[in-house]
Point group: C2
Chain length 347, copies 2
Amino acid sequence: MAIKRRVTIKDVAARSEVSNQTVSRVLNNRPDVSEETRQRVWQVIEDLNYQPSAIARSLIHQRSLTLGVVTAGLKFLGPSQTLNGIAKQAEEAGYTLLLKELPGFHTTDIQPLLNTLLSRHVEGIIWAVPEIGNNRDWIQHQPNGLSVPMIFLTMQTQPGISIVTVDDCFGGRLATEHLLNQGYSHIGHLSGPLDWWEARQRQEGWQAALLDAGLQVLEHHWTCGNWSTASGATETERLLESYPEMDALFVGNDQMALGALHVARRKGIRVPDDLAIVGFDGIPESAYYCPPLTTVSQNMGELGSAAVKELIQAIEAGHHDHAAYEPKLLSIRPELIVRESSTAVRV
Amino acid sequence: MAIKRRVTIKDVAARSEVSNQTVSRVLNNRPDVSEETRQRVWQVIEDLNYQPSAIARSLIHQRSLTLGVVTAGLKFLGPSQTLNGIAKQAEEAGYTLLLKELPGFHTTDIQPLLNTLLSRHVEGIIWAVPEIGNNRDWIQHQPNGLSVPMIFLTMQTQPGISIVTVDDCFGGRLATEHLLNQGYSHIGHLSGPLDWWEARQRQEGWQAALLDAGLQVLEHHWTCGNWSTASGATETERLLESYPEMDALFVGNDQMALGALHVARRKGIRVPDDLAIVGFDGIPESAYYCPPLTTVSQNMGELGSAAVKELIQAIEAGHHDHAAYEPKLLSIRPELIVRESSTAVRV
DNA sequence: CTGAAAGCGCTTACAG
DNA sequence: CTGAAAGCGCTTACAG
């Protein structure tokens, strides 16, 4: 497969015996070309299978129609669903995506990555990396802000920053209130790792609901795992010991909930009669867990597409430079899906 | 966020009172600049936070250091794991990814998509869309081949095409032979949709193993689902009726296997004593199914990174245009993970 | 209706 | 050691 030179506008011009700019006119459907010339040039374009260079064009137009996406942990469900939504929406809006995946969640030096993206003239950036520990502190240290609009996904509100997020706290509340309504009163919580903002929010929702119901929230009523099914299993065991009265458990994601179900089964604990379990995420398989899992469903695809819409709006506001774009906070509400794992017939 | 003009090489040149090409020399670490000038220019570059335009550079160098990735069904596990591997490897090799997701698996007109990619000067393309029905016929109709190297993932061998694939047929054989070794002899199969090449391969492996063992393979010994847990459940029910002697079941993916387990449980069929079940994919949760699932594990991340390595090799071969790059076929072997769902103590 | 000129942001020979 | 000129592939005024 030897190197093939690109077919350029010059090749087309030469072959159709006109100047470059006439070819350019034909390409861009300008009116001022004679019908005869137009036909001839199109013919040559097709014969040569000529594709105008988007690169050259973006240099002139100062527009690349490209969006940068920074993601991490693509092998997990959430991030890939989000990317799915981003890709769909970008496609629809006529933008192309430049994808960068962080090697881990805790990358320290963001600058080279941002530079790569900016050097390729992205018109905006979507930051689809979960907020963990202080992995967003760099935002403060940006010299004089970014040179392009940027949208952050699922994170703590910060002034001056556009954020699209799922309301995880509300989700945690939803799960817990459901359990209360079902008559459970010793409701434990198995959270995700607490350096994750999402994990903390869900935990907060759980706690708030219990306090609102006049119940106590004590240290030994909860523990945290690392999102994996394995950790869901081991942490559930720990919780069963530290909180023996526990009759219901709100778990921070469906995969850990699967681990919890696993442990309950091994120990002969009946779900939901002895222990109700509610998950978070709403992954399709959860409907086929044993028993089917009640869960809080969040639409990550919608999150992604909302982010793209918002970003494009910001970009266009920048072009009509009058209307300075106001940073926005969009929050998507998760929904409760009730299944067998939390609906015992209580007496 | 009003529009900000990019800082260009001219700005730097003006501010440091040298010509553009001296700035260029400094940027590219050329030797022939006086130390004093070099220092001054670097200072200005930093002050202005100047980022050279990769776009302009790629125009000159005729190299974009960009790879195109075409994917579909990112919301499913396989494609996103694959993309994960692709992203990691591309990053490591210093390439940036241009991502396009097809709206569905059966897109008819590939040309516009290919053109977008080519117009942005991608140096190579990875086709990470599963082969389904005739959704790859377009390869034949490419006028005079592609102008850049292209690698296809998981598909039927075709002359002149570079392919990186998992050996699904071998995987199916692995699962089936394991069941035979465990003493099962009425082994049914629940495949994925048969227009998927991968589904057909796994089915073929199952069939070959049975024939090799001198067993019959009849129509009513297998059925096909659509990869979803739901279809896994309904198709297992169907199979239990059509093939009542069945004592083991090889299922085309883990999610459908979860559906099979679900049905078995509902019907009081003991797994693995009455019915052994083996899945395919090796997703982490399968270790926590009820009972834990024996499965054939395939490393999609490795698939992705192998594809990137191969593609880059092809690209570089193109640059040293002597050594014409030979299309290759790389095949990755899946592995069997044995768990409780297939290891009854048989008498 | 069509072409010569200038320029997008950069680099590569070529002079001096 | 440094700058003027030409060019990557294209488009946009400006002439004619």
